[in-house]
């Protein structure tokens, strides 16, 4: 394990610091609350000569992702950052980045989508692009945001897939925390030099990028992309383990917190996982067998592993910070249910849609959910889908 530097950083600062240490070839970005600072701080590093990055200030997020795609196809290591409407505007280009298998890393600060217009946290933005072919890694706090950004570069370049690293808007992005940073040189050594096999600026090995694929080839290329997503799972695990050796902080596909003997479990992503841990510690002191499963990687979804981890619970609550507008559950709940179904695990499962547009979720809310789970496990008829803290 190497020497680390303990510093106070907000989530946005932590992500910008990671980008400084990574020193990508190109960053193309357009500002949007609450992700503005990520690229604003990074632009400062460019101006101060702390990085060698070509910074492209573009006129929209669609252009930002387009410029990223061009730069990555040319052979560069490329990063960007955005949020909410910005990610929505990028949506068309996100599919292209993934289809062309360009290892772009995007810092997304999760924020609600309009309408109604809102700048606060929920997960609607990244959920909207969950089928775009990007690996999606959620962060619980600023430390994880920093760690995930460093790992994302290696994951993207090994799996040949673009990666989104998220933080919860304002909650993580603007909350200052104590984090441990690696030395610049250690980060550079960890990610290594990016050497793409084929790239447009290599005139020795000419290639065509983005050719028309009709009925005869499109399906095969999409099948490759699906396979790359499946194969990214061991890559993420390997990178998480080697990062652990370096920093003392190991990462997997998801985190289990006091799950080994848990009877009641909460499944939550992002900052709510941290809130849940405090409640779980409190309940454990009262001999309630409570636990947390925190999916870190939402794409690819580790369905077998998660189903195995939930095998022993009596009841579970799946926390969705967005809704699928499908007339029933949220997107994470659907994934969890599909995972359980394939292992023939018929669990008492409650879905909580919470925190839309930044609505607060507190310790007492989570404690109440564990109370609901105990009732549901005893057969008390509970609502299957609950809208936490919404006024009737």
């Amino acid at each position: 394990m190497v020497k680390t530097n303990t510093v106070a950083r907000t989530g946005n600062e932590a992500m910008a610091e990671a980008m400084r240490q990574i020193d990508p070839d190109v960053v193309a970005a357009y500002p949007i609350t609450p992700a503005t600072e990520v690229v604003q701080i990074f632009a400062g590093y460019v101006a101060d000569g702390l990085v060698r990055t070509e910074f492209v200030p573009v006129e929209s997020e669609h252009s930002a992702m387009s410029a990223c795609i061009g730069a990555a196809a040319a052979g560069g290591r490329v990063m960007t950052g955005t949020s909410s409407q910005g990610l929505a505007l990028m949506a068309e280009m996100l599919y292209i980045a993934a289809g062309l298998r360009l290892p772009i890393v995007l810092a997304d600060v999760n924020r609600a989508l309009s309408s109604p217009i809102n700048i606060h946290c929920d997960h609607s933005d990244t959920m909207m692009v969950r089928d775009a072919g990007w690996v999606q890694i959620f962060s619980e706090n600023a430390q994880e945001a920093y760690d995930n950004m460093v790992q994302a570069v290696k994951i993207a370049e090994t799996a040949k897939l673009p990666v989104i690293v998220t933080t919860d808007g304002f909650i993580i992005s603007h909350g200052m925390e104590r984090i441990d940073m690696l030395d610049d040189a250690e980060v550079k050594k960890f990610i290594g030099e990016y050497k793409p096999e084929y790239y447009l600026l290599n005139i020795e090995k000419p290639v065509t990028v983005g050719a028309l694929d009709l009925t005869d080839y499109y399906f095969e290329h999409k099948r490759q992309e699906i396979e790359a997503m499946c194969q990214s799972k061991p890559v993420i695990v390997d990178v998480g383990a080697s990062f652990g050796k370096l920093s003392g902080r190991s990462y997997g596909l998801f985190e289990k917190y006091k799950m080994d003997d848990a009877e009641y479990a909460i499944v939550a992503m992002g900052s709510t996982a941290g809130t849940s841990k405090i409640v779980i510690d409190k309940l454990r002191a009262k001999a309630v067998k409570a636990g947390l499963l925190k999916p870190r990687v939402f794409r690819p979804f580790p369905k077998e592993e998660i189903a195995d981890a939930l095998k022993g619970v009596k009841a579970l609550a799946v926390m969705d910070r967005s809704d699928s507008m499908n007339g029933h559950e949220g997107p994470l709940c659907l994934e969890i249910k599909a995972a359980l179904f394939d292992k023939a695990l018929n669990k008492v499962l409650l879905n909580y849609i919470y925190g839309l547009g930044g609505r607060e979720i507190g310790l007492n809310d989570i404690e109440n959910i564990f109370g609901d789970l105990a009732k549901a496990a005893k057969g008390t008829g509970m609502e299957k889908v609950n809208y936490l803290g919404v006024r009737e």
């Binding site: 000419p206 990028v209 050719a211 694929d213 095969e220 290329h221 490759q224």
Partner: protein
């Protein structure tokens, strides 16, 4: 279920990743002539060999030998008709005819 592959096209396991086409000048391998609904016919006795058609052809499908137009490469000619349109000769040294007519002429 995977499909039988009678055309011997590469499957997803052997295709280059990411929609890449590896190597240069691969457009040559893509014969675009079968898109054509009309074809240019060369009338050599009217041609003044100005090479205007050769310059304008977007598919480099005008065949020139020793500085003279000799005909068209129908494997790549898409039948756009620019050559006929641009031909400066009065009465035109290039005439566009339908593929149907061309095929009927071939049978004669």
């Amino acid at each position: 279920m995977a499909k039988e592959n009678p055309q011997k096209k590469p499957g997803w396991k052997s295709l280059p990743q990411g929609d890449l086409i590896i190597g240069g000048a691969t457009a040559k391998d893509f014969k675009t002539g079968d898109w054509r609904s009309k074809r240019p016919v060369f009338i050599s006795e009217k041609c003044i060999n100005c090479l205007t058609c050769w310059m304008y052809c977007p598919d480099s499908a005008v065949i020139v030998k020793d500085g003279k137009v000799v005909g068209f490469d129908y494997e790549y000619c898409k039948g756009c008709g620019i050559c006929e349109h641009e031909c400066p000769v009065k009465g035109k040294a290039i005439k566009m005819i339908s593929e149907k007519e061309a095929k009927a002429n071939e049978k004669k």
